[in-house]
Symmetry: C2
Subunit: 655 residues, 2 copies
């Protein structure tokens, strides 16, 4: 049997399996799967250099299924190939056709959309929120480039999905970074969910866009095995030569290919059952007779295994303390001045971490001179590991996720406000088990002059939602870190690098006074008691620790003995904090430079769950902030200065 | 003096004023302002049909400054023209040059980035988080089209900013919707913040992209008055003819135009002072001598006023109750079945609201058959007010904001998970005082089979952060609404339409049983006591009201008398809830289908702030959910079934 006929036969078999699988589940997207049946067959049975026995082997070629709802066809192929599955890597087993009957079942590894953490390690990242896959693929490609691995990354993107702006961001990124080892494959099946795709996403228009962006475009019939194979061979060839344009494939396909009764509108996310299924099977049989001359067999295919992983000489060094690092950077005078912005300490930490650990990479979005990530960028020994993403945060976060999933430790920084541009992407990265170190600078209202469009105000509430959810390793889905001084920022950057999982750190625009020293130890889940009193606990983080500290002194003069807690981590040790509040008559005041839902809520939850008669007063941003020339102006406008803290505390205590 | 010389003279004067303004503030972005000095001069002094006396007159042409940091040049022009400013519309006054000295001051209307709610009504929307302006402009254009107004919308976009994928989404939207009354103007000054812009955002590449997307592109010298005026005239002409392509302008400009000493890298967000300022002034004087033949005067310009606002015949009808609407839609049998998905009730409500109020418009992102927004779309009398945005949520939310700011009542729906793609945009819309009615469908874990990539899990935490912040009218920045049945969803959609401000409503994929009837009244800030007991209050919302209700019956059998509260609104009447908890021995259990940070946190805050010995137990999604075939499977996996509620409640009460 010719390779072409074998591809047809295999594709048709995968479709049959897929239709059974979706019918059993009572949901799923068989018609989208059918549109990528030939592309998937050629990739998984022929083109990709990988091993079903080690589906996430580090040198393997990878498939990122950006249009995640097409996943059943990949499961079908994986079952045919006996791909290893299992949440516990020590107890993996071969996927069988029988397993497919449990697609989307609560006990199954086969999730409704790609989700590696549930045990299907063929995929690196969770997809399904559309438009993100190409960025993840680009991140995998960037990591392979840094590691000198000849890995090819294939990414299937839906035509409707390509309307997501992030796809264009990823394409720009691929051209900018000259990533010729990633292949965007546009699956143009002409139908979205509710209706046909727009003419703006026609294969012709997509090809024209790609050309305008600087791609070498190959338009093919996505159900023609010969054309698919030739396109993938052309791609392989381009990866072997230096220079030239990156390549992209525009594949015309048919949604519901092989079964005309399922084509057109109305069969998205709706598996045929009963007579409709029978009819589709009959139609598929006709296609098989027409397109293949003999019974199909996957024996016709040879999958080339990935190369052995090269042994890497890894020398992880120690990270020197901040004082030493700054002295080595001729910053002795700043050290003596006793004030430094946490954002700058972050930049200094990046440099130290970069030298200590070759896996540390840094991504930034045209604000590295503000976040101080440029300290890393400007170091010639590290510059190759600095990835400038330009003003396209969505792509940056997904690409960072890809780099993290390929073994890098990606620090990703921009203004805290602009981190919110990538919340969907960050969430998907967290679900993928990615190892993101997100740093939002200019956090909170003390940014002042630029106004609310540049302030991170809801960021603590957003990320806190993830802190009380356990991931597949039993850790919080995310830690939120708010350093109050340069020592804390420097140390916490190091803690983030050590930890495998996602963290979000807020840094500040303005200089803050040193509170700590290099001797101080910071832990995920920890907090620090800066001053111990008897009457009330003041809980603050970041900039507000300094306001609270001033308030503490004023309270002392007024005869109130306050305890000051730097609540630099969410989550934190609740019992320990409750004990402290107990020792302070049950009184607590929380002080934040952001909207509610942050540390005030976290403390409130701890108190309310304890059932003890504690009393909380929350101070946070309770009206819209505006521009002001100084942090103090804005804090005064919002009732958040040290004097306001004093007033609120006295009132709270009834004195 | 020729018009060209007058433009040069005026532009140079605006630059001088801008540099003084930024020097006084000690911050701001003069060099970006200088790059758009001629474009702004031509628009505000010559091309736009508007009135400085009524800067937000509803028929005026509009300028959306997507690269918001260029705002000083607009303030300079506004001061020269004596534009009316003031937060209180009844007490507006003319902006003066003197006022500019307070730029970015806490007491000033002149924010660091455009922000209409602080009193500068020349702008419709807050900008400054980049890449959003063109979508807002498209929304304004779409509203003008619907209202039959000959309004032209100009949008200035930075070249670096155009990397944001949302810009491409907006361009696709403009072509799809044939919006020829909006003009994207790309300001190609070649410099971003940290570095030069990528070659991907060169003027040639931007022009090539625009052509590939279907635009008629005019590339000009952005400091050549004649070319600018001719381009805007060409645009005006295209708006007068039917058909043809939409137009875009690519303007080559110089960052720091007029003062070579401020050009190149290093002067972004950094106003010159002292000698640097003097030198720049000298350089500007040389340009003036070179380019103008006489002293400048704005007398050379005539601003054409906007046409009188046509009197609109508005007939707002009543919204019939759900029962009547469903009977009119031949849905009597569904009504009798006693179960209906809240998402479908939302769709039914849209139709009723659309008929009752001509300002109601609906936007959706290719999921209208899932959100049931297609009930509105399919009604021939309403179809013109349905705006299909395709799979591009960021553009959808910003365009909806634009429509809302132009007087429409935009309902915007997609999956709750995909709403998160637009969180940054939604936040900016909220800051703009926009009137968004956001509906996230398939919310929470009971979506089940599709898995976590399609579930809204952190949405309540995110939106709750806005519920405790007051807007410029003294209202919460947002209400979060969680209807538990079809009657609630239908009624709350009506409440949202009535209210001027942003709301977020969560709807459910699965049918839920009727709890209410058409007699029930729902209020923003309200909650409903469904059953009154003595021992413990169960607080739930949405789907979980039904689990809680089952738990209530089981608890009753076990001798526990529980009170059931449908906490359908955030914020809610805290005192009333505390009274109820007081009547129930201080015991409360909250039950949610999302991550923490939602109603559990809201209740915790109320309890902890009261200082009474209340005791809370929170049940929410505390581990990563996965696919399951039924809602019950997933709830059981997460410990959130009625039985789990019973168990937790008994434990909580120590029985």
């Amino acid at each position: 049997m010719s390779l072409e006929a074998a591809v047809h036969a295999q594709a048709i078999e995968l479709i049959r399996i897929t239709m059974d699988m979706c019918a059993a589940a009572g949901s799923g997207h068989p018609t989208t799967s059918m549109s990528v049946s030939h592309l998937t067959t050629v990739l998984m049975f022929h083109t990709m250099r990988w091993s079903p026995d080690y589906p996430n082997y580090p040198t393997s070629d990878r498939l990122v299924l950006s249009e995640g709802h097409a996943v059943p066809i990949v499961y079908s192929a994986a079952a045919k190939l006996g791909v290893q599955i299992g949440k516990d890597t020590g107890k993996r087993r071969r996927l069988t056709i029988e397993d497919l009957k449990r697609f989307r079942d609560i006990g199954s590894e086969l999730e409704g959309h790609p989700n590696p953490v549930e045990g299907f390690a063929f995929f690196d990242a969770a997809t399904g929120s559309l438009g993100q896959g190409l960025s993840v693929a680009a991140g995998l490609a960037e990591a392979a480039r840094l590691d000198g691995l000849d890995r090819r990354i294939y990414c299937i993107i839906g035509d409707g999905e390509s309307r997501e702006g992030q796809i264009t961001e990823a394409l720009d990124f691929i051209v900018d970074r000259r990533l010729k080892n990633v292949l965007p494959i546009f699956n143009c099946n002409e139908y979205g969910q509710a209706d046909r795709v727009s003419a703006q996403q026609s294969p012709e228009r997509i090809a024209a866009r790609l050309e305008a962006l600087g791609f070498d475009v190959r338009s093919i019939d996505g159900h023609h095995p010969g054309q698919i194979i030739a396109a993938f061979e052309a791609f392989a060839n381009t990866t072997k030569v230096q220079g030239g344009k990156p390549m992209a494939v525009v594949a015309r396909t048919v949604k519901g290919w092989g079964a005309p009764s399922l084509q057109g509108n109305g069969w998205h996310g709706k598996p045929p059952t009963g007579d409709a299924l029978k009819r589709a099977f009959t139609e598929l049989d006709e296609r098989r007779v027409e397109l293949t001359s003999a019974l199909a067999s996957s024996d016709a295919f040879t999958i080339q295994p990935p190369p052995e992983m090269p042994t890497r000489e890894r020398s992880e060094g120690d990270v020197p303390p901040l004082g030493d690092t700054m002295r080595a950077m001729d910053m002795e005078s700043v050290l003596h001045a006793g004030r430094l912005a946490t954002r700058r300490a972050y930049g200094i930490a990046l440099r130290a971490l970069g030298h200590a650990n070759p896996d540390v990479v840094v991504l930034d979005a045209d604000v590295s001179n503000s976040t101080f990530a440029d300290i890393f960028k400007k170091d010639p020994a590290l510059a190759d590991r600095f990835v400038e993403c330009k003003i396209a945060e969505q792509n940056m976060f997904s690409a960072a996720a890809g780099m993290g999933l390929a073994g890098k430790i990606p620090f990703v920084s921009t203004f805290a406000k602009f981190v919110s541009r990538g919340y969907d992407q960050i969430e998907m990265a967290i679900y993928s088990g990615a190892n993101l170190k997100i740093v939002g600078s200019h956090a909170g209202v003390t940014l002042a002059a630029d106004g609310p469009s540049q302030m991170g105000l809801q960021d603590v509430a957003f990320f806190r939602a993830f802190t009380r959810v356990k991931d597949h390793r039993g850790n919080p889905l995310c830690y939120v870190l708010q350093p109050a001084d340069a020592y804390a920022a420097y140390a916490l950057a190091g803690v983030m690098a050590e930890y495998e999982g996602t963290c979000y750190m807020r840094t500040l625009r303005n200089d803050t006074e040193f509170i700590y020293s290099d001797k101080q130890v910071f832990n995920l889940g920890g907090f620090e008691v800066l001053s111990k009193g008897r009457d009330v606990v003041l809980c603050a983080a970041g900039y507000m620790v300094h306001e609270a500290n001033t308030a503490l002194e004023l309270l002392d003069k007024a005869g109130v003995s306050a305890t000051l807690v730097d609540l630099y981590s969410l989550p934190f040790d609740t019992d320990k904090l409750l004990d402290l509040i107990n020792e302070n008559e049950g009184n607590v005041v929380t002080i934040e430079d952001n909207f509610g839902g942050g540390i005030g809520s976290a403390v409130a939850e701890a108190l309310a769950e304890s059932g003890d008669p504690f009393k909380l007063r929350q101070l946070n941003v309770a009206r819209m902030p505006k521009s002001g020339r100084t942090p103090e102006d804005v804090l005064a406008y919002l009732g958040l200065t040290a004097n306001d803290v004093v007033k609120a505390t006295m009132q709270h205590l009834g004195v």
